[in-house]
């Protein structure tokens, strides 16, 4: 049961071959069995899950038109506020925070009838590419426990890959859905900025953050996107452009699909074996009717400096609310107000978070604003224009998600810059706000490789169609890691 798709589980639930309660119990026991090794969950909400599963079974019995997601056990990245369930952002700062409200993403999925198994581990406040920056400890890659699962949605990726949930939510500010999906061999979609509401999602960088599905196939991602996408009056930046039926054209043939291959994605720094896997995947698309065209995204290299100014700047302001006054961590015995602020924040935030807050504080401060923040935003426009121009010529753009496969735990912790450079292929997508996916496309050195498929604004249906056709023709997404038991 555990490695099956939403579609097949939905069928079995309706055929009474299994029940949501049974399914939920299976997943909960697998979590007990394997998550001691992986550390992919921060909170397991078993009581709530079982109650939701019972309700789902009743709904399935009573309503033939129940959503396809009814009774499907999922997990949420621990930055979605969940009413009555601890929501930590993997930070000591929110170690004890139980929101009395629900994020739009999780509430829409609840309305679709999912079962919430728990909240997944992540890099603290979504800052990181390895899931090593968690107050609750690093997450391990299910394919190799010595390796990182990627980040920041590393817990969600590991849990899906290990069959500790059917699907999970993630968020992507600079690659945080795609890179862990790539490292763990699952399918992940970062939608167009504004396609999914950010309400109730604890912000890292407001103009870059976007929530999306992480699952075992493009089709499963489509079902989840269907549930969470669309206008939300609570988020001013959420688009009111109508959503599409994301499964309606998922099987459409790819004849004549023009695939752009940006030469900058295949240059120095790309691991040879990863390159081979991506080239093979592109050949597969040619077999499916695609036409390859070499293109250029000339400002790709600038996405790193632009991102590492804009994201920390927004973060420095977004994270000011964590001050020990209304919720979250407050230091012991503050001697005065200033002491309370500085020690609560100094003790409550981890090192990477503090570092980014300081970078952002510096970039926005008097005398530096123009040279850093405004400059980064001008470059952001250049990066967006590169994509706009490219999509005048091609339907989708393909390339690797990351220059390498999952690296070793601890391998890059001493060299933050090397870690930042890992994000080179993903950051520009967030700066431009376009949608992109990571799709399993083979293995290199025994670890999964993700193919990145980028699309024009609001072309999620197209991306899902392209990814789905690939998954019909290949079986990379069906591969499972062999798990190690242990507490």
């Amino acid at each position: 049961m555990v490695d099956q798709s939403i579609t097949s589980l939905a069928k079995k639930l309706r055929a009474k071959e299994t029940s949501s309660v049974e399914l939920t119990q299976d997943f909960l026991s697998r979590i007990k069995q394997f998550d001691g090794q992986l550390n992919s969950y921060i909170t397991i909400s078993d009581e709530i899950a079982l109650a939701q599963a019972e309700a789902a079974d009743k709904k399935l019995a009573a309503d033939d038109n129940a959503s396809l997601l009814t009774g499907i056990p999922v997990a949420h990245k621990d930055l979605f506020c969940t009413n009555g369930i601890l929501t930590t952002c993997a930070s000591k700062m929110l170690n004890n925070f139980v929101p009395p409200y629900e994020s739009t993403v999780t509430s829409r999925m609840q309305a679709s009838g999912v079962v919430t198994l728990g909240k997944t581990n992540m890099d603290e406040f979504a800052m990181g590419s390895s899931n090593e920056n968690s107050h609750y400890g690093a997450v391990k890659n299910p394919w190799n426990l010595e390796k990182v699962p990627g980040g920041s949605s590393g817990g969600s990726a590991a849990a899906v890959a290990a069959g500790l949930c059917v699907a999970a939510t993630g968020t992507d500010t600079g690659g945080s859905i795609r890179q862990p999906a790539s490292f763990c061999g699952i399918t992940g979609l970062k939608p167009t900025y504004g396609r999914v509401s950010r309400f109730g999602m604890i912000a890292y960088a407001s103009s870059l953050d976007q929530a999306g599905p992480m699952a075992r196939s493009a089709e499963d991602c489509a079902h989840i996107l269907q549930s969470i996408a669309g206008f939300d009056a609570n988020d001013s930046t959420c688009s009111d452009i109508a959503t599409e039926d994301y499964t309606a054209s998922i099987d459409a043939p790819l004849d004549g699909l023009i695939i752009g291959l940006p030469k900058e994605y295949f240059g120095d720094g790309l691991d040879n074996d990863v390159a081979t896997a991506i080239q093979n995947a592109v050949k597969e698309f040619e077999k499916l009717g695609g036409k390859v065209k070499e293109i250029s995204l000339p400002n790709l290299n600038l996405s790193i400096p632009s991102y590492y100014v804009i994201a920390p700047s927004e973060a420095s302001s977004n994270l000011s609310r964590f001050d020990g006054v209304r919720y979250g961590y407050r230091c012991e015995d503050p001697k005065d107000l200033m002491d309370m602020y500085k020690r609560s924040r100094g003790e409550g935030f981890g090192k990477e978070v503090q570092k980014r807050i300081m970078v952002g504080t510096y970039a926005l401060s008097e005398g530096y604003y123009d040279a850093y923040y405004l400059k980064a935003q001008r470059i952001r426009r250049l990066i967006k224009e590169d994509f706009v121009k490219a999509f005048e010529e091609v339907d989708v753009i393909m390339g690797p998600v990351a220059p390498t496969t999952a690296f070793g735990i601890g391998a890059k912790t001493d060299d933050p810059i090397a870690m930042y450079l890992e994000d080179i292929y993903t950051l520009s997508v967030n700066l431009a706000g376009i949608p992109a996916m990571s799709v399993p496309a083979g293995f290199a050195n025994g670890m999964p490789v993700g193919l990145q498929i980028m699309g024009n604004y609001f072309s999620e249906a197209k991306l899902l169609n392209v990814a789905h056709k690939f998954q019909q023709a290949t079986d990379w997404h069906t591969k499972n890691p062999s798990l190690v038991e242990g507490a």
Binding site: S207, P305, K342, R343, R345, K355, M358, Y362, L382, A432
Partner: protein, 95 residues
């Protein structure tokens, strides 16, 4: 761009982060290397390029002026470190 420990402490103060001396030493190096990384932007000519704040360049939607929220004070206060008489408590504020 190279920061010294005092610069780091100044930034940390602005951001309300307590840093020990050894923290400041560590951050001095890592912040400097990040600033070096982002410094490559300066070599790019962006004259006449408008800053891009939001990817979609959409416009702000407006909310009708109606009261939609009820009092949920108790639920909100439940997460607070210290409260009394419906108030959040903080160490004495001196104006």
């Amino acid at each position: 761009m190279s920061l010294d420990k005092q610069d780091v402490q100044k930034i940390a103060h602005l951001a309300r982060l307590s840093l020990s001396d050894s923290d400041a030493e560590q951050y001095k190096d890592s912040l400097t290397s990040i600033l070096d990384l982002v410094a490559q932007m300066q070599s790019i000519n962006t004259d006449g390029v408008e800053p891009l704040a939001h990817p979609l360049e959409a416009k702000q939607r407006l909310r009708d002026d109606i009261v939609t929220e009820e009092n949920r004070r108790d639920a909100f206060l439940a997460n607070a470190p210290q409260t009394e008489a419906g108030l959040f408590l903080v160490p004495k504020v001196i104006d």
